[in-house]
């Protein structure tokens, strides 16, 4: 069976995640060999994911970690006099 572009698009996400079955993967690979449009869509989607995983894209507020650990430190100090952390009664 020959895949059309729309069919390929429906599976692009799974293709990237390597969760399509072997047979479908082979068909998609064949399609990609001669279809520039689908190849470009695949590349652009992949690049968006690379960019997403880049720590510089989604940055944390300056000083976030420091403030978090200060707050945690206060909390730990408060509970230090209590018995060990325990959910049991």
């Amino acid at each position: 069976m020959k895949l059309d572009c729309k069919h390929v698009w429906e599976h692009i996400s799974e293709y990237i995640d390597m969760t399509v079955d072997a047979e479908l993967r082979k068909e998609i690979d064949l399609h990609l060999e001669h279809c520039e449009i689908c190849s470009a869509i695949l590349d652009s989607t992949r690049n968006i994911l690379i960019l997403t995983a880049d720590d510089r894209t989604f940055e944390l507020p300056v000083g976030y970690s420091k403030r978090l650990h200060e707050r945690l430190k206060d909390e730990i100090e408060k509970t230090k006099q209590e018995p060990p952390v325990s959910g049991q009664k």
Partner: protein, 208 residues
């Protein structure tokens, strides 16, 4: 980025037994994840940071109830999601529908945008600040149910099972939402990608 699970389990046991300061060490690999999870829900830096702090404090207080049948990261993400939803409900007011009511739409166009004159983003384009900014905006503007799955999967790199468990949805829904989120982002970002297209033009700069 994450600690080896056995170390983590040992760390948790020691904290529960009384070495409370070690909680700093336990939480450090997950600080970013907690913040991003909150931000994906509340979409506001200050609220996300406050929520992240509450999440970490809550995890500290309730650590003894962590049983180890889920991964620590999943357990923590669940606390973060609940904290985010609580804040969102508060912000939206009780009168409005809560976010959990949002349903997957079977309508809408989730097909990608075709690119005809572009093969791959050149590496230098990925370095461009405006592309990163465009991606941040596009992610922030995704409908809630899609953004949350996208952030857990592609930003925090949690797997399908972990994402499903943290959001309380089934793995099939994770896959569908992730696919739609990615396609919506691809479509939104095409104009930015096109400007970086390598020249492959006919006379007078017209595309062939």
């Amino acid at each position: 980025m994450r600690m080896i699970d056995t170390n983590e389990a040992g760390l948790i046991a020691r904290i529960v037994a009384g070495e409370k300061e070690l909680f700093h060490e336990l939480i450090r690999p997950y600080e970013r994840m907690v913040y991003l999870t909150l931000f994906a829900i509340v979409k506001n830096e200050t609220e996300a940071e406050d929520g992240a702090q509450e999440t970490v404090i809550s995890a500290y207080r309730h650590l003894a109830s962590f049983r180890g049948d889920a991964k620590f990261s999943t357990w923590l993400t669940t606390i973060a999601i609940n904290e985010g939803r609580k804040r969102l409900r508060k912000a939206k007011g009780a009168a409005e529908n809560s976010i959990e009511e949002e349903e997957e739409s079977h309508e809408g166009d989730y097909t990608p945008a075709p690119l005809t004159d572009w093969r791959e983003i050149p590496l230098e384009a990925l370095e461009r600040k405006e592309l990163r900014e465009a991606l941040r905006v596009a992610v922030a503007e995704l409908p809630d149910i899609y953004r949350q799955v996208f952030v857990l999967r592609d930003l925090e790199e949690q797997n399908i099972e972990e994402t499903a468990q943290a959001l309380g949805i089934n793995p099939g829904a994770v896959k569908v939402r992730l696919h739609r989120a990615r396609m919506m982002l691809q479509k939104r970002l095409v104009p930015f990608l096109k400007t970086t297209a390598p020249a492959r033009r006919g006379f007078f700069g017209r595309a062939l």
